[in-house]
Assembly symmetry: D2
Homo-oligomer: 371 residues x 4
Amino acid sequence: MRRLRMGMIGGGPGAFIGPVHRFAAELDREIELVAGVFSSNADRSSSAAAQYLIDPARAYGSLDEMFAAEKAREDGIDFVSIVTPNHNHLPSARAALAAGLPVMTDKPLTATLAEAQELSGTVAKAGLPFGVTFTYTGYPLVREMRERIAAGAIGTLRKVVVEYPQGWLSQPAEGKQAEWRVDPAQAGAGGCIGDIGVHAFNLAEFVTGEKVTRLLGDLDAVVPGRTLDDDCTVLLRFANGARGVLLASQIEVGELNGTRIRVYGDKAGMRWQQDDANRLEILHADGRIETIQTGTDAVGPLAAARTRTPGGHPEGYLEAFANIYRDFAATLRGEDAPCLPGIAEGLRGMAFIDTAVRASANEAGWVDLTV
Amino acid sequence: MRRLRMGMIGGGPGAFIGPVHRFAAELDREIELVAGVFSSNADRSSSAAAQYLIDPARAYGSLDEMFAAEKAREDGIDFVSIVTPNHNHLPSARAALAAGLPVMTDKPLTATLAEAQELSGTVAKAGLPFGVTFTYTGYPLVREMRERIAAGAIGTLRKVVVEYPQGWLSQPAEGKQAEWRVDPAQAGAGGCIGDIGVHAFNLAEFVTGEKVTRLLGDLDAVVPGRTLDDDCTVLLRFANGARGVLLASQIEVGELNGTRIRVYGDKAGMRWQQDDANRLEILHADGRIETIQTGTDAVGPLAAARTRTPGGHPEGYLEAFANIYRDFAATLRGEDAPCLPGIAEGLRGMAFIDTAVRASANEAGWVDLTV
Amino acid sequence: MRRLRMGMIGGGPGAFIGPVHRFAAELDREIELVAGVFSSNADRSSSAAAQYLIDPARAYGSLDEMFAAEKAREDGIDFVSIVTPNHNHLPSARAALAAGLPVMTDKPLTATLAEAQELSGTVAKAGLPFGVTFTYTGYPLVREMRERIAAGAIGTLRKVVVEYPQGWLSQPAEGKQAEWRVDPAQAGAGGCIGDIGVHAFNLAEFVTGEKVTRLLGDLDAVVPGRTLDDDCTVLLRFANGARGVLLASQIEVGELNGTRIRVYGDKAGMRWQQDDANRLEILHADGRIETIQTGTDAVGPLAAARTRTPGGHPEGYLEAFANIYRDFAATLRGEDAPCLPGIAEGLRGMAFIDTAVRASANEAGWVDLTV
Amino acid sequence: MRRLRMGMIGGGPGAFIGPVHRFAAELDREIELVAGVFSSNADRSSSAAAQYLIDPARAYGSLDEMFAAEKAREDGIDFVSIVTPNHNHLPSARAALAAGLPVMTDKPLTATLAEAQELSGTVAKAGLPFGVTFTYTGYPLVREMRERIAAGAIGTLRKVVVEYPQGWLSQPAEGKQAEWRVDPAQAGAGGCIGDIGVHAFNLAEFVTGEKVTRLLGDLDAVVPGRTLDDDCTVLLRFANGARGVLLASQIEVGELNGTRIRVYGDKAGMRWQQDDANRLEILHADGRIETIQTGTDAVGPLAAARTRTPGGHPEGYLEAFANIYRDFAATLRGEDAPCLPGIAEGLRGMAFIDTAVRASANEAGWVDLTV
């Protein structure tokens, strides 16, 4: 067993998610960042390489250059990680797959549903591993929740409330992180719905094991002058008839990244939130709340295998993110990684965004979600 | 100043809300329960009187009997409190007003909107004080929230999320409290929406000072065999254009009475929940959360005037309820009580229930809320 | 069954605890405040009566006057409630008992241990009901804790941490409430230790069912110019060998009334705090936390019998206080009330205060606590 | 700038803290684990190297071997990290310093105070960087607390309550992690006091900037058959006269790693706990609680410089630990790192352990803490 070598696409100076992917990929020492096209500007790409402390010779100015140079090395990259704005996901992934490289990409899968469908076909033909960093599925207790629900812990699913409140876009956008997210040319058809709503959607399907089949969207651009939505409510119906509500907002001043989910069956309920990520609450019908904590004997093998510290020493966002990379590394080594979000989850996410935007336009009412 | 004398209508053996009204009315010693038609069955009425420790001679079997007998006494009742199932609110209130007695009634105002409109006219003609126990408006920090928002603390209102999750009706109904609530003949057109959704609606309008003008309802009877809704999501639009979401459910297993509200303007946000009723969170744009606690110098005069204990000694549901009775007593004494929910709020609540039910039927989409 | 009639001693204008006793005594309608010597100044006593809305003729200027006048009435008082500063507890109780009246008194029992011993003898001779309002024992879940521990839920007791942090005396005292508490002539030998430390001590013995046999005191007057202690740490040993720590402070700026207790046996632990009074946490060895909530099927009969509202509708300080009055009323009616703190608990509290003060003086080390 | 190369001493199969040091050292990519004497058994050392995915040729069976081999390499180690049981800290550090290598060691500094004094002299003579991983000082908000307190945010320090509750040693020890900690030959004179009490002590001095000058210890071995203490209470006096209480326990069943600290001055208070590590509470005298969150504009430059994720994406234990390694790396590069715990803090920790054990023996009362 050796460390897998990662080439990054995107993640240049000022990036937020690029460094996160680097932290996450390397945390468990199974992967190492060794090369990258951190920016299409070669100087900026070099400057990022210096920040990451990687060999400056491996900071490239274009994908073609990276793929060619790395292929020629004995210790060339094993896969790429795509951390660009959304509209560059498809071309980057297409090129990497064409170069025979597995791909890990940030979410949402692409900028549009059509792109996602194209990419889905490309991935299928390429037959290469493909992962999408739906971060919240990496939290050990989110996996515990999924596993317990699958085992019948709440009975038949009836209701899901999933939320992702933020407030950082409550004023007209400023700064690199904000600007591309409110620009349809870079972000795609969805603003808030594509940036964080899709996390909530993925989380809901991941945890419950049920698919959303219909939805009703109520999206709006609240901040004056904004084109893309910045506040979203989506009503959901799941395949088994269960009801759901998805709340995502980027204009709830003072909220940070309060991702949370509540799920109710006919026997019990469960609650989890990123703010208190190392605890999972099970709500019993008799009024008892049973709290499960990471790093203790109370969690099952799935969560235990993705926890690094003893109970009470909190793990957080980077560790959750790292769990997705561990899954991806496992996949590259031919091992099973049932929790890794892949092209199918990425495609469903895009179908969700597209459907929610359409359902919201002209108050179209309930619309089927198909993929 | 003397204690006001209250006659109760409803609240017989097995009742939940009757005793609550008694606790609340008497807590501050401005009001005393002295008589009642606790049940239309005279024996049961007497038995309730014994439980309340009031003079058995003043337990009546009918409204007419009570009004006649009490009128004849020098120390007869000053007003009535109506705590019956919904369908008896209108006839009880009508009779009391006809007998010249001010009325405090439990929510919702009546069983149907038509009844509410009739009652509204009757109250207007009678010119007598009329209160409705929208409990949550009695919490000191809910009033603090209203006052601060009115003073501009959050800027222009943009978003409201108000929730009332319960789980106690997650199984087919059993027991006196459950049975009438799921019976359209007694509860009216709304199930969950009328029992607790209306609390959430009232809370949202009370706190923000803005009126809901349109809504979209997604109500359903989740538990098999149930006629009335037991799970509701309602999308809201306020007069100033602000967006809102109202969640109410009685099938979220393990949830008790988790009433809570979050409000965001363009400058700041606020959060309050019954579970932690003595704290109000103000969310600042810079990431600071400022927590205001009852019984301290940090609260304004409105909240301070309705708090009985020093900071850190929690007050709860009965004290909040009692604040509404204090307001009602003040009104009877001719004093100003700007927070007392009255016929107008009661009528708006019924319009909300009616509109939400209609909006939900056949997925009717967005419907105007008028009153 | 009729309402018992209470005469109050103390509780005049500006009082904090007098009104609390009134709220608590009357909440469940088993008791009624009808008379009082609210102040030794007859005018002030009358003015208090007006505030309480009781018959002005029953506001007396002296104990003798009250006892004589009330004895002469058919509807005279059934017992007295003593809510004066500490140094008046003994003379008031002595006089009431001599007049044949049962006594409920605020804590601590008296100003000094010698007084407590005298009163203990007097009570024994009088053979009349005697209660002490150790408030925290009135919380339903504190009783649940006691009951579960007695039933073996935590195994053998090993460790107790009990805390009562306040901050309101962090500056030189101002106002009626503060002034007498820092004056040895009125408060007795203990400042913070007698005002709130004794609550913590009582809570620890109540919950565990074990007696403290030795202690080491570390008391100090932190605020310059103060005579009595305002910050206390006391190390404890229980009869079974268990270890304990008691923290009480009145100079922890920003703390309100954060009473809390943690108890550990060899099998499990439990945590309760006034800040979240309607929840009790049971800590299991496998890392699960089981949370029990009032008003649900998860609590036992003792707690259920002293809860008024359904789960999720919080009860607070006044309701806890009222539970002690219900116990006292039950005792007056000849019923069993095993949780009512009485003369024995009051006397132990005084022995605790006295021992802690002595143990702290000159760093005396460990001292036996006997009574 | 290049990555610094770390050689680990200890951390073999079954180790807990070895992997933590690896995670922490490498997280920010400034340091790389490249070699180690993971065990004095060469086979076990190799097997650990395989787990860490480092070059098997650099897994050594003895310190001498590692120092010689690494010195001979162009890319040899830059420093060592000592993660053995306590009794091996001194010999390991002595040898590394003699080989000219800077040292980062786990806490406590050594097994005994005498060893610590010796090591202190050795470090002084060697003139090489020396760090001690007092983990909690790595949390950004612990540094924020220190910085704000130094700037006068709470006024003059009056009171500290610092706690570290655990429950995992509530039964007779089992497993590698437990066994050495309860063995005086490996752990030294202190059990719980040396394992976690010293963290609490260091945290208190770090945050307040005040030194403890006297203490009174109450330590005991609660679990039958245990030699070393497993439950500790220590009363503290600080140089400025402030009072303190330190609670550490390993027998509080169900507690995990609930490190927390509360600090009060004459103007305000502050609270922080590992359980909610990304929030710092400032308690104001008027009853407002101001909560500061990592990753927001509300934190100062010191905390901001040691935070990796935006507000609301929690960081945890590994990130805190990594901050200490970043400080150490900075020191190696000749930069200033004022928060790095070094030999002085390590020595004070040992003086604390030694003094607490002596103070507790025979109930010796208050003892001066000198170093």
